[in-house]
């Protein structure tokens, strides 16, 4: 599954939000998007999700144009957005349920892998923030689309939980490597997780830089302390500083 966006532009009335974005997510690739807040990241996701239609340019999934078409991607939002009246098991199959009968066996297997087997019958209010995000991620995995769009999924978590969640995400992802498009505003997070990083400018948004992350997989936490990691982080920080300063 590959995503290709060419010459994408979107404005709301007089306000140009996205000026021109070209980006690509190849099959089995993990791509992160870094950008200052208000840089139209959410608008970009709404365009990919088909909630908005582009003014210019095209969005293609496997060489097929999907402008304005809904239900073709898996999505994980910033806050877990679990339904409080559904049990955890019922929650994780929600997205799959929209298209056909969900696969409960697969759901149980993934919950068990996430260490949530004993919470199958529990309700979301009994879970911690990190657990809820795991449930939200499994829900996205279970819907059959093979492009995963994650919208700052860990930004609401505390630092300890976040590092654990990042490692957990990689371990699950490496099993079947669905293509991922990951929005974040943490440079470290992008470097630790992604194969490639797009740095966005502030509004009206363009792609400021594209960085290929050279680290091999599977990645360990010790990577965060290496010199290469630090240098890359500094380089990206330079790009972002220019955006803030301008």
């Amino acid at each position: 599954m590959s995503l290709t966006i060419t010459g994408l532009a979107k404005s709301f009335g007089q306000l140009a939000v996205i000026e021109k974005i070209d980006l690509q997510v190849k099959t089995h690739e993990f791509v992160a998007i870094l950008g200052p807040s208000g840089s139209g990241k959410s608008t970009l996701f709404q365009l990919i999700g088909g909630l908005l239609t582009p003014d210019n340019g095209t969005i293609q999934l496997n060489e097929e144009t999907i402008d304005g078409r809904k239900g073709l991607i898996s999505y994980m939002p910033q806050n877990p957005s679990l339904f409080s009246w559904r049990t955890i098991l019922e929650n994780v199959v929600l997205a799959a349920e929209l298209n056909d009968k969900p696969d409960y066996e697969e759901a149980k297997r993934l919950l068990e892998k996430a260490g949530l087997a004993e919470f199958e019958a529990a309700y979301p209010n009994e879970l911690s923030g990190g657990m809820k995000q795991r449930v939200a991620f499994i829900r996205a995995l279970l819907s059959k689309q093979s492009l995963l769009c994650l919208d700052e999924p860990f930004s609401a978590l505390d630092e300890f939980t976040r590092i654990n969640m990042q490692k957990w995400l990689l371990s699950i992802w490496e099993e079947d490597r669905k293509s991922i498009l990951f929005i974040t505003h943490s440079i470290e997070e992008a470097l630790f997780l992604a194969d490639r990083i797009y740095v966005l400018s502030k509004r009206p948004t363009q792609v400021k830089a594209e960085i290929t992350v050279p680290f091999a997989r599977p990645r360990e936490e010790s990577l965060l302390e290496t010199n290469e990691f630090f240098l890359l982080k500094q380089q990206i920080f330079q790009y972002m500083k220019e955006e803030i300063a301008e």
Binding site: G49, L51, K70, S74, P77, F83, R86, L98
Partner: protein, 253 residues
């Protein structure tokens, strides 16, 4: 839950104190029974005429429950239609509010003129009283669905129908139940009012008979049973709520 039980216990205790005070004042001032009977007289009368009252009670209970079910079904259907068709909502919602401004006492005789003394006009009265709280509370519930959940449903490509049945409807259940509780208490009042206007049986009939023969003690017996009935219906709805609304302990406290 324990808190509620304790609060219920306290208010029951206070009610007992009030009854005691009432009994005492009646005894001291030697008020005649046909002006205001003492609670003990009312209880005696209730026990004495229970066999007589039983039939009346049963008929009112049936009427109230059938009316409640009918009114709630209609109310829920209307609210779903209005919510899903905003254009219809614009036209009909003001009319719904107007419908509540017609005093039941005025409307009921008209309904009898149009539909006779049968069951139909009574059910119309009760449904008319019951459906409004349901419509208002469920529509509020549908509207107050968390925007981030709605956004999520849109992003994963849910149709409007799926969004309604998987998200908005279950999300509104607590609101629907608060409407139901109000409707349940109204339904008993509606039943009694509709019986005043022409029925062979029912607490309303019993009440009018008692009133016209200055049996104030019987009026109080009737009032007592009406209250008991309202509270029981309220309790049943609460029980249903407990069974149906899940995973929201935090919100329910």
């Amino acid at each position: 839950m324990q808190k509620i039980r304790m609060r219920g216990g306290r208010s029951l205790f206070f009610l007992l104190v009030l009854f005691l005070l009432w009994e005492l004042l009646i005894r001291i001032t030697e008020t005649p029974k046909w002006i205001l009977p003492a609670p003990s007289d009312v209880i005696k009368e209730a026990a004495a005429s229970f066999n007589d009252l039983y039939g009346h009670l049963l008929s009112t209970i049936c009427l109230a429950i059938v009316g409640l079910v009918l009114g709630c079904t209609v109310g829920l259907l209307i609210s779903i239609i209005l919510h899903r068709l905003p254009k219809v909502n614009e036209v009909l919602y003001p009319l719904l509010i107007l419908s509540q401004n017609i005093p039941t006492i005025v409307l009921a005789p008209l309904l009898i003129i149009w539909f006779g003394f049968g069951l139909l006009p009574k059910l119309i009265v009760i449904s008319l009283v019951c459906f409004f709280p349901i419509v208002v509370s469920s529509m509020d519930g549908f509207k107050q669905t968390a925007p981030e959940l709605k956004h999520y449903m849109e992003m994963i490509g849910a149709s409007r129908k799926q969004t309604f049945w998987k998200l908005e409807f279950p999300h509104a259940l607590p609101s629907i139940f608060s409407g139901l509780k109000i409707a349940a208490t109204y339904s008993v009042m509606g039943a009694v009012i509709s019986e005043w206007l022409g029925a062979k049986k029912g607490i309303g009939v019993y009440m009018t008979l008692a009133q016209s023969s200055f049996r104030i003690d019987r009026v109080f017996v009737a009032i007592g049973f009406i209250m008991l009935l309202s509270i029981s219906l309220f309790g049943v709805i609460r029980l249903l709520e407990k069974l149906v609304v899940k995973g929201r302990k935090e919100e329910m406290k």
